[in-house]
Subunit: 475 residues, 2 copies
Amino acid sequence: MSSSLPDIKNNFSDWYNEVIYQAQLTDESPVRGTVIIRPYGTAIWENIRNRLDERIKETGHQNAMFPLFIPESFLKREAAHVEGFAPELAVVTYAGGKKLEEPLVVRPTSETIIHYMFARWLTSWRDLPIKINQWANVVRWEMRPRAFLRTTEFFWQEGHTAHETKKEAEEEVLMMLKEYVALAKDYLAIPVISGQKSEQEKFPGGEKTLTFEALMQDGKALQMGTSHLLSQSFAHAFDMKFQDRNGQLAYPYLTSWGVTTRLIGALVMVHGDQKGLCLPPKIAPIQVIIIPIFKKEEEKEAVMNSANAVAAALKKAGIRVQIDTDDQKTPGAKFYHWEIRGVPVRLEIGPRDVAQKKAVMVDRLGLGKDIVSVVDEIASTIQKKLAEVHTAMFNRAQELQQAMWYKEEKLATFGKKLQQEGGFYQTGWCGDPACEAKLKEFQASTRCLIEEKTFKTCFACDNPSKQDVLVAKSY
Amino acid sequence: MSSSLPDIKNNFSDWYNEVIYQAQLTDESPVRGTVIIRPYGTAIWENIRNRLDERIKETGHQNAMFPLFIPESFLKREAAHVEGFAPELAVVTYAGGKKLEEPLVVRPTSETIIHYMFARWLTSWRDLPIKINQWANVVRWEMRPRAFLRTTEFFWQEGHTAHETKKEAEEEVLMMLKEYVALAKDYLAIPVISGQKSEQEKFPGGEKTLTFEALMQDGKALQMGTSHLLSQSFAHAFDMKFQDRNGQLAYPYLTSWGVTTRLIGALVMVHGDQKGLCLPPKIAPIQVIIIPIFKKEEEKEAVMNSANAVAAALKKAGIRVQIDTDDQKTPGAKFYHWEIRGVPVRLEIGPRDVAQKKAVMVDRLGLGKDIVSVVDEIASTIQKKLAEVHTAMFNRAQELQQAMWYKEEKLATFGKKLQQEGGFYQTGWCGDPACEAKLKEFQASTRCLIEEKTFKTCFACDNPSKQDVLVAKSY
């Protein structure tokens, strides 16, 4: 049975929409700009969340829960902040049967309400650092919604910290960026490039934004998450002061950092293929699917016994395994069903396999088909295979990224290719926003600054380049 | 150091507000009707959630994520439902800089949006049962907000299921009620009474509501959670049909069930005392606090070595332990600090204890002070103590409930006492809502029906009692 998905090479956008629907990650929602995240999509998010939550706690942060609604006046306290978010806000004007005196904004992010609380909690340098994280839903009204990538409501974690010195705040921002990059590499099997955003692309109200970006198979960049050095602007806006070690009143240095359900979109677009999803083993809700195969009813018992024994052994070893017991479907239909869902490893068990105490092991990535023993060492066989699949997925994605990474001097030369074929373009930049704005003609933008200086002049003008910059089309 | 809390006996309400603030479960929020749930409160919720989530999954449900916003028209499809929730709704009328054509309601509960999706997903009896759960924030505008008990925004899980037969739906409703009761008993150490709600007290739009209720120390009942047999009204409202085993079109039977952050309020009000919180070990964020005690600087190293070794041994055994290393506080101030936070077990380690390889073990409940060996068996000593504390807490709460459980014939006799002293009143009821309404004079209501028939006549009139009913004041 061949895939009914749109062509991934020529019609990536339709392929994306169709694969997340057919794999039951999402369904259309009757509420404009939102999606329903179905159990399979939710399970992926839970796996990402659980891992990241563990790391957030191990790096000294604590979770807390702040209100969904923020008084409109709070957002206005930081001028750049409200300017950045105003067009995207959803506003509650009626509640409890009455018009509200002050409208409440549904949080687009929680800096303002959290900083208000930090100001309450902070009196002395001994109260610092404050290191808080929140798992929450946020709302930013979207004109062109796209499941996981841009939706009116999305799910994320937002870390918020306050520090005594700028140096400490900078260390925090870097530490969390490193955690994110490690999550991408070790759990999502996604290679990323990280660096600083330009002034135009940074967080509204912050001083410096670090980003990590990945390349999708269609050549577009996806911003995977950000870590912001907010410095003191919000501290001033919320009158957040403390007595420092010298007894003087001082303002703390703030940071915030977050990743969202967008990471699921990244998984789909980095790893998927013509057959459907291809999930990295560490976050796959089902790591191994067992397909019992038999034609005659009298073969069923022995096959099912073997399947159950294998499943039990894998479960005991902490492997997420499921047996497809659907008696309405042919094995071929089952292969198709689980391929589109991207389950990393399939085990086929038929009557002949049972007799030989074997199973056929096939991986979703196409590394090869093996006959494996189902006695004793099956769990370690699978664990080895899952690790192999993870590495192969990361390497494949990295090769793609390298193959589409170009070093080019002038936009006039590479602009057309960038627009038509996508890819990462490393080039020189004078730092002038006017030059940066010229990228719009090619539907591109700066993704991040690169700590290299390969080029003498700017990609757009003849002034000297300050440093390299990564340019791409993006989601 | 004595407690600075209001008197728990004479001023329970102020005691409650003050203890959750001083123990840093919550802080006041600048958004009317909401609270900030601080890290210590959030950690309690996470412990409750993790356990319940495990059970929800083990009983065959899958998590999913549905939108925060619900079109106003959806709520109106089920007449009783919208009537029940209309006064509590928060409504988004502006978004993305424009007035919305159809206002969006911030979900007060998700039946309508989830049922809309069920109708999309359901075609054949083979698709049944559908068993979904969602962890989410919901909003119900509160006129008299109270932290954890009634807040405009709260956190919960809401289970939603669809079944082929009414019998199956009834089994589901009962199964989840049982899970909740077990959670209360085995994790929260709270004895509860469960049963059916009266017609007046049931879920708007449902057929039958099962509740489980606990008695707080001030004699008021707290509804801990509910499990609803919705039957077919919502299925009709959302045109949710399937082809049954006979090829006929049929409507499924629906259920929903939920518990909220209110459970944290129950923990405070059932177990707390004049010294502060008293947390059941299984959900306590910190199960053991170690207080190193030394006067001279040269004693510090040996004491800290022992404290670290004990902490490492406990951590290894999966016990949540922390050492209080604050060098600004006296041991007495530390005792006070952790008592108000309800940490179940305290270990004191001083220079003499170190020499004897001992520690002083004190439990928060007051079961007794022990000198325990810190060699080898310390983890099992603590595990035994935590189990003992759990049982003692449950028994203490059960004794209180029994001591305040009265069997009374006539409201005219027990009404005054109920109003002044609280307690659970088991009495007879004819089933007439007019009689039920008379409880309002005494600020009371029916909590649930009881499967007994102790009384011949109704508590309010002379008509025969249909069955016993539990009456109480409530939160």
